[in-house]
């Protein structure tokens, strides 16, 4: 039993990597533009389906889809930015309905292009077992956990050291002051959308490589990303990673100990617990959200 539980914790940990990428994209855009992109999960799913096409039509490894995915998802993400930028009044509420509508469009584009069937990778290379100590996993899980951690470190470096990264943080904390310092807020917001798109593209290929995808999965991903940001609290990259791992572990423990149908309830339980006990999240600064 203990072995099973430890194995579940290990699988959940690996799953947490791509969850963190999705959640960071959502949080980055929210930080820079105060807009929650409800179509974010669909962007991730779009990338996953591109990986499926690359594998099934060209017979290549799903990893080969990453460059194509990054380009397409970044274009889609920038398109979301330009449409959101056209909102004139009451942006906080209108952007929600707007991105929800974009999510509906993307879901149906995916449905029409790739049909409603459940898809998963056929690559044996990806599915081969990798043994680390007493733990088992697929090669794709370990591989993409490594990729996620590398991307997160890269994001941290970008946000704290590079000019644009600092600009994103400046716009997040005070838009007007940032403007006075010569930062173009519009361009910075676009950059945040593009970086979120890059993270979403990698996460999508990862999801396809070790999981199953259906056109309706996008909304679930957005909710998961949101739960992670609530767990983590705003403005903490390590917090998001830990929140994502917590969610992954909670889900995989539920699957092992109860049933796979209850998987989503685990995340929700965690979410409500945090909401009641510490509404600022586990690592958030102690200020009111919203």
């Amino acid at each position: 039993m203990t072995e099973l539980i430890l194995q579940a914790v290990y699988s959940g940990l690996l799953q947490g990597g791509s969850y963190a990428l999705i959640a960071l994209g959502l949080a980055l855009v929210f930080g820079a533009m105060k807009v929650i992109n409800l179509a974010h999960g669909e962007l991730v799913l779009l990338s996953a389906y591109i990986a499926y096409t690359v594998e099934s039509k060209l017979g290549w490894n799903p990893m080969a889809a990453i460059p194509i995915s990054v380009v397409i998802v970044c274009i889609a993400s920038s398109a979301v930015y330009f449409v959101v930028g056209r909102i004139k009044t009451n942006r906080e509420i209108n952007s929600l309905t707007l991105t929800y509508g974009i999510g509906v469009i993307l879901t149906n584009v995916i449905l029409m292009t790739w049909k409603a069937d459940v898809r998963t990778t056929n690559s044996t290379w990806m599915q081969e077992a990798i043994v680390v100590g007493p733990f088992y996993s697929m090669r794709s899980e370990v591989l993409f956990f490594g990729v996620s951690v590398a991307l997160i470190v890269g994001l941290w470096w970008w946000l704290s050291r590079s000019w644009y990264g600092r600009a994103v943080r400046a716009v997040s904390s005070n838009r007007d002051a940032a403007k006075l310092m010569g930062i173009n807020p519009g361009r910075t917001e676009l950059v945040s959308f593009i970086v979120a798109g890059i993270l979403a593209a990698f996460a999508g290929v990862a999801l396809f490589s070790y999981g199953v995808i259906t056109p309706a999965y996008g909304g679930v991903l957005t909710v998961k990303a949101f739960i992670i940001t609530v767990l983590a609290g705003m403005g903490s990259i390590p917090g998001v990673l830990i929140g994502a791992i917590l969610l992954g572990v909670a889900e995989s423990l539920t699957v092992t100990l109860a049933s796979s149908a209850l998987q989503e309830l685990a995340g929700m339980g965690l979410f409500l617990l945090v909401l009641f006990v510490m509404p600022n999240g586990l690592f958030g600064a102690s200020r009111r959200r919203g």
Partner: protein
Amino acid sequence: MKFKPTLVASLLAVYVAVPLLFGADNYVMSLVIASLVIGGIALSWALLGNLGGMVSFGHAAFFGVGAYTSAVLSMQYHVPVFAALVLGGAGAVIAALLMLPVLRLRGPYFALAILAYAHIFRIVASEWSSVTGGAAGIGNIPRLPTVLGIDFSSKTGNYLVILTIVLVFALAYALIRRSPHGLALRAMHDSDDATRVVGVNNTLLKGMMLLVSAFMCGVVGAFNAHYINFLEPDYAFSALWVTIPIVAAIFGGYRTITGPLVGAVVVYLVDQLIVKNLLPSGHQMVLGIVLVAMIVASPDGLLALVRKITRKKHAAT
């Protein structure tokens, strides 16, 4: 309310003329009933959005909980169907009470939290199979009964019931909006803090609006369960019960009372009669496009857009 001849005439038209003209045509009547169901949800959504200032993506939860409550009560506990409709609304209110903690989150956080709740209720409905029949669903849900010689289980009977439900809700909405609470709620839009300072309990009022909205949506869901006699989790909690009403409310103008209703009829009929024939598998895409176009062009609805354009023309001449 003042006596308005046009109001009486339109009431007569919808209560008498529609059944007389189309009562024999089952297809037309089912389209009309379905658009009224959508209209009912759109109205409850718009009430929360307009008065409560909250965008909800979780109204499918209220719709589904109302439907299941009413179906289970009438089948397993033999509650009369009309009483079960009201209790379905009460069930949705209980679901909304569970959501109250999310009121401490504002704006976008609230919207996403309520979306997450809708997922929970769907999972509960599919897993709690001893009561809900699980993923297989419930069949043979009792139809509306015959009362005072009127057979409410017929298409015309169903039409009269859902029409009455929607009109009563519209009236209730109008009364709330005119009341001092409505004034406080509208003031809250301009400044949350200022209304708090003059002694309005914002959170309480918002919470009340959530409960009222949930009740309305739950009753409509309960009606729909008895109308189609069948329920399954994926149907009762389908995202469609959120998408179409939102599009309808935004399209018609969610800050008005008639807007969501008119929007529901137009959007649903166009979707079913035109778009579905052109794009059988992805016809919902058009809903998304309409939503995006409306928010960008005129978030206050088509009527506001028309008014804006005509005003510009007037100014030009």
